[in-house]
Every structure is written in C-alpha cells, then in structure tokens.
Symmetry: C2
Subunit: 216 residues, 2 copies
Amino acid sequence: MEMVLEKQVKALSERTLRRLPRYIEILKRLKSEKIEFASSNMIADELGLDSIQVRKDLAATGVIGKPKLGFAIDELIFGIKHTLNWDNQTDAFLVGAGSLGSAILGYKTFSDHGLNIIAAFENEPSKVGEIINHITVLPIEKLSDMAYRMKVHIGVITVPADEAQKVADMMIEGGIKAIWNFAPVHLKVPDFVIVENAQLSHSLGVLTHKLAESLK
Amino acid sequence: MEMVLEKQVKALSERTLRRLPRYIEILKRLKSEKIEFASSNMIADELGLDSIQVRKDLAATGVIGKPKLGFAIDELIFGIKHTLNWDNQTDAFLVGAGSLGSAILGYKTFSDHGLNIIAAFENEPSKVGEIINHITVLPIEKLSDMAYRMKVHIGVITVPADEAQKVADMMIEGGIKAIWNFAPVHLKVPDFVIVENAQLSHSLGVLTHKLAESLK
DNA sequence: TTTTTATCGATATAAATATATCGATAAAAT
DNA sequence: ATTTTATCGATATATTTATATCGATAAAAA
C-alpha cells in the first residue's frame, strides 16, 4: 500500500494539551477586563510559565500573533477551543451514579468543554430511574445497545474499581471510542480505544510526596 | 516484617510520582493472587509500560529487587507508599461542600492515600451544620483560625472558580502548606505553598482532542 | 557442585520537552 | 516619514525523560 502524505499537522504533546485549558482561563479573565490583545508574556506571567513555552504551545493552535501587540484574545480563545475540539459537543454516557458520578452529571460547564452527557447507567436497581440534572439513570444492561444505536463515542466510568473493566468492555462493545476513567484501575482496551485516566490518587500522591519533602 | 529503606538518592520526577500509585494497584492485585514476587516486566506488561522505566521508577523508592525473582511485593508496596508518604496520614480541611466536595468527603479510601479530611467549610449558611460521611460542615469564617490552631497542613478546594483565590488566601493565613485545587483557576500563592491542580477540564481536553484526531 | 537462566541495576543512547537567541515585523513614538 | 519599541516565530541549545545495552547476581536446573 502506498503512503499518502498529508500536510503534517503539528502534533500536540500531551503536556501542551494540558496547558491549553489554562490559557483559556486567563484569556477569559483578560477579556472580561475589556482587554483585546494578550502577549505570550502576559499569559506566562499569570500562570508562572515561560513565555517561549506559551508561544510554542499557541503556535500549535495555528493562531498567529501580531508583533508589539500579541494575540487577539477572541481569536485565540476560539483557536484553542477548536484545537481541543471544544467547539463541538460529543455525546457521552456515564456509568456509575454514585457521588462522583452524580457530581459530574451536575456540572453544567462540560458543554463548554466538548462533552454532552446524555444518559447515565447503573447497576444498583434502587438508583435506576433517578433523574440527576435532567439526566435519567438507566439500567446498565441497556448500555451497549443504546451506545451503538445512538452512536455515542465517549464513555465516562465512575464505578468502583472492581466493576470498571466490565463496564469498559460493555462500552467498547457499544462502539465507544474514548473512555474517561475515574476508577482506580488500569483498563485493558484495544488499540483503537482512547483511555484518559482521571484518578484522583495520582494527583494526590504528588501532593503528599511534595509536602513530606518540604517538611523534611 | 522488618523493612529497611535506603535513603532516597535521587529526586523523583512528577511523572514517576504519578506512576507510583498505578504500581500499587497492580501489586495489590498480584498479592491477592498469592504471588510474592513481581518482576519489572510483569508490572510493565500489566500497565502497558516499558520494564526499564518501571525499574527506574522503583529504584527511586529505594527498594532493591532480586535477580531472577524481581521485587518482593509486600516490601515494594510498603516502599512505594512510604515514598508517597502514604504510610502517614496528614490532616486536611476541605472547603466547598457542593457535589464534588461531598463526593470527596465520601471517599473512605483517602486514608490509604495519606489524607485525613477532618472538617469541611462552607460559605452557604444552609449547608453549614450538615454532616457528610461523619465530617461536619463549618462556616468558612472559622477556617483560618482552626487551621492554625489544629496545625492542619493540607487544604482541598472544591468551591467555584470565583471564590477559590479567596479560599486559598484564607488557607495560607491559617498556615496550610499544600493545596489540592479542584477549582478551574490558577491560584497565586507564595513560593513555600505547594499547589497540586486537579482540574477535570485538563484531562478532558486531552480526551476530546485525541478523539477528534482519531476520527479524522 | 556446576551450569544455565531470568532479572536487576548501572551506564549509555535516543527522544521529547523546555529554554535561549535573534532577525523580522508592525505598532507606537518621535 | 523615520526611528524606536515590543513582540512574534524560527532556529538553536539545554534539560529532562524514556529507552537500549550489558555485566553482575542469585535462583533454579542439571
């Protein structure tokens, strides 16, 4: 088979991707102060980063700055959102309507972040039928079939550790392509499925370690 | 069981720190299967990592492996927990008893991760006095003073964005040394204060971007 | 006991990421 | 209109992180 070379879109590193939402935060604040242009230096200062790094990150969004002025804020916010695909909403299912799951269902702001949770699923019969933030909790048995029929591409897992792999398998069976995993387990999935882990313990470990070091 | 841990030779990178909890997860599972030794290869395979990287990460904990056998699982779990300071519990205050705050208060497992949340605080008078998972919700006004008197070193922020900086300031006034920040804002704090950000949007951005790329 | 083997851990190399340098540019000042 | 200035963005360098190589070692097999 012959390789077709497309114009190489500058690949974004994961670290850059994680900084982009922070830039949006700063830019929105500057915008609310009626500022129209932001330089890489302003942004870097606000976040305690290096301005060269900010410029490099922003270069990956394709937005072009102006000498002496910096970046047009509106355009830059738009460009970052586009890069993150936050200017579209992708339908998602959430499984596990416990306290964390409910908290996530309660967030209205995910729609600004490209995520549209349209249904929740549960094992526990007593929770089925509940409505959380206008989202109905359905029985887990329906997950695969509904995901397939509704062409849902994102799954959010907020079940306990010992149920997570099973839930992931059901999601994949239903054609889900990306999993946002809050359960403290490593999910085994086929190569074509994207898993983004959001375990609180990972971040907590960094905190407790650094604190202990600093108190030495 | 006696365990002598070598003094830590090298500073741990943040990326290593974030992998350590994942090793614990695998090791506990292997242990539950009555396995006593784990090689770097076994661990790496389970997590889809490189065995050399696992060995390097584990070297940073000071635990020594045995040729042909690998690492003694009990000793290794202990060593990793020690490195993360998860063998001690540090008292913490949480501010913001909304849905995410309540979810965090509900986690019983944080005590296995070095965190002991002993009180929660709120702005909203209607929430003050509530008891969530045996933890009382107190008025925010008491935060600084109580933190100082009780020598609390960790603060967890789960308030909305526009209140977070104010809460951080109060925490620092009360002598808190490390902040686990879930609010979507960059906190400005003195150098001696550690901030670990746990914003969901950062992780979500990686997911939505990768999914969009994969569907191209 | 001797040999074979799997795995460690030290050192070396490669890749990714961050930081520095500097000419080009357009806005603002002169 | 000309000069000065701040900032960009391309390229170069440094640093950090990940991966490869290989001798040393202790367990298991012969």
